[in-house]
Amino acid sequence: MTARKITYRDAVREAMREALLADHRVFLMGEDVGRYGGAYACSKGFLEEFGEARIRDTPLSESGFVGAGIGAALGGMRPIIEIMTVNFSLLALDQIVNTAATLRHMSGGQFSVPVVIRMATGAGRQLAAQHSHSLECWYAHVPGIKVIAPATVGDARGMLKTALADPNPVIIFEHATLYNETGELAEMDDYAVDIDRARVRRTGSDISLITYGGSLSKTLAAAELLERDGIGCEVVDLRTLRPLDDAVLVQSVRKTHKAIVVDEGWRSGSLAAEVSARMAEQAFFDLDGPIARVCSAEVPVPYARHLEQAATPQVENIVAAAQKVMRR
């Protein structure tokens, strides 16, 4: 099987282009997706190829165009709504939480909302407090939607297709620091991957390191360092944040008896808290010590580089946590 090198950004772009070509109901809508080529260049060239009707630049009206995307989905289209970042998605929370998430249950099952919402997320580029949020856990909190976080080029390439085929609202979080990263993508006829399973990215038997999205590469790097110290880490990539794949988590913890959750959200009320609770519920008697969490410090993300680094999970933090958990 041949493989090629591809950036995360190009994987996202390829996935969208494939979707636009395959189904005339699919269209892309968001700020600067057309003329500008996408704030993160994920839709470069699309306007020329697909035209203005299907590559819609919107005004700065998050609530308006997200709601419109929901309405369009109800009306038979398959929109990909791009909210530039999770920071701006707060303006569209009402439509996502009060319309998209509720419509099916509240109407007694009469409708479904087949909408895909993509957003960039995360910190690490000195963009300060209002542009550095990781609010995946807020969305993962809400029944009626699905939430996924592709962390590899394979997932960036393959999750979109599955998300578009899903009749429910699917929110895709793309960590902003991943766009420039390059990875190996095995060539295949159909790149579609599931959006409901976690994946073990590295096997080990001493500690389970559980993470998602932008923190995956840091966690893998920490695992490499820990290996040299004789600590074998099993790295689990959550991939889907709602629903969470308990089975993979529990299986890993049953093997290693120790767990650390790495999450760029703030510790309080985080996804890491939810994962910890589930492991405590389902694998309590297999644990050889308390579950540890490596999360962002409880501060608005600062601008100065050294402060931003100190405020967010880094490789050293993960390594230190592992050594503490191993009681070294």
């Binding site: 008896h257 050889d288 009681r327």
Partner: protein, 381 residues
């Protein structure tokens, strides 16, 4: 008193706008009621004559209570007693509330800090947590339990020479292979009822009283063996003699390798809890030393249990002068057929080996049938 809002429980009557004897028509305002949000006018929904006023100004009245009577109104003009949805639908128990609460062990005030996994390992090794040295941080983890178990193995057990014992086992096994014509019978048992019963039983017990699944296996084996006297006895000097009591030898792995099979004397006389204590005691004394020679020599049948995450089945070798041995493979969830449907069940392959000079495959099969039947009704064990 009508309900005027989701959070209204009661109202205070301020003023009657009609008197007894007045004709009222649907839509007329009949009284003013004070609520948290202010004064609200009450309208009537019937035509008739106001006959009796039951509440006076200043009275606070709960929602649903009669304020006044109107003659000429339909029989069912009085609002029926409020029937809440929950009452009508029966007491709601939300499906997710039915998940069983897992009991969390309460650490004693001055007990050691021991992790759940470590506690479980200590129990299965027959180690008392109180006897395990904690780490520098005061915690007993898997590491400390393993160290304690290893230490127990490396100290010489009083009364038993490990090396001599191993040699004895080796020669016995070789003799068995040479002299005993083995037949083997295998059965796959659906142990889901047993495991479910065990799980429920253990959930109600404190940690010290929980049972390993080996215990119901032992009991079922003992009860069955009482009925098969050609499987429970000794073959010595060319002759077989059945033994009255069933003394099941439990195969226990020794730390430095090898199996030893001390017996629980008169196995069938012990109930499950008692068997568990006996088993723990045997395991502890096996690891630390202190086995009695009678326990080593008086076994009548052996049961060897591979345990969790091992292998599906084994072909066991009979320990002479015994004439029967029971080998249990791991319990695994595998497909099974019940009522023409394929369902996942917890299954265990059991292989028995018998001395063909004394019994034959059919007997082995009958034993397995009996054994399986007893395990299918774990609550009766």
């Amino acid at each position: 008193m009508p309900s005027l809002g989701a959070d209204m429980d009661a109202g205070t009557l301020v003023e009657w706008l009609k008197s007894p004897g007045d004709k009222v028509r649907r839509g007329d305002i009949i009284a003013v009621v004070e609520t948290q949000k202010g004064a609200i006018e009450i309208e009537v929904f019937d035509d008739g004559v106001l006959s009796e006023i039951r509440v006076k100004p200043g009275d606070e009245v709960p929602v649903g209570q009669v304020l006044a009577l109107i003659d000429g109104a339909d029989e069912d003009s009085e609002p029926p007693p409020a029937e809440t949805a929950t009452k009508a639908a029966g007491l709601p128990s939300r499906p997710m509330d039915q998940e069983p609460l897992r009991t969390v062990s309460q650490p004693t005030a001055d007990g050691p800090k021991i992790s759940p996994a470590a506690r479980r390992l200590a129990q299965s090794c027959g180690l008392d947590p109180g006897s395990i040295t904690p780490g520098k941080d005061g915690v007993i983890g898997l590491r400390e339990v393993e160290a304690a178990a290893h230490h127990a193995d490396t100290t010489q057990p009083a009364g038993i020479d490990q090396r001599a014992m191993r040699n004895a086992i080796a020669s016995a096994m070789a003799r068995s292979n040479r002299e005993i014509p083995h037949y083997y019978v295998t059965s796959t048992l659906d142990v889901t009822p047993m495991m479910e019963w065990l799980g429920a039983y253990n959930a109600r017990q404190p940690i010290e009283r929980r049972l390993l699944y080996l215990v119901p296996l032992l009991r079922a084996a003992a009860l069955s063996l009482r009925k098969f006297d050609d499987l429970n006895g000794a073959f010595v000097d060319g002759r077989y003699q059945t033994t009255a009591n069933v003394n099941i030898g439990v195969a226990i792995a020794m730390r430095k390798g090898g199996l030893i099979t001390p017996a629980i004397l008169d196995t069938a006389s012990h109930d499950l809890q008692s068997l568990m204590s006996k088993l723990s005691d045997l395991v502890r004394r096996t690891r630390q030393g202190g086995l009695k020679s009678s326990e080593l020599s008086m076994g009548t049948v052996t049961l060897t249990n591979l345990g969790e995450q091992t292998a599906d089945a084994l072909l066991p070798i009979i320990y002479p002068p015994q004439v029967f041995i029971i080998g249990c493979g791991q319990i695994q969830v595998r497909p099974w057929v019940i009522d023409d449907a394929v369902v996942p069940r917890q299954l265990m392959d059991v292989t028995v080996a018998g001395d063909h000079r004394v019994s034959d495959g059919r007997r082995g099969a009958q034993f397995l049938r009996n054994f399986g039947d007893l395990l299918a009704r774990p609550e009766e064990l």
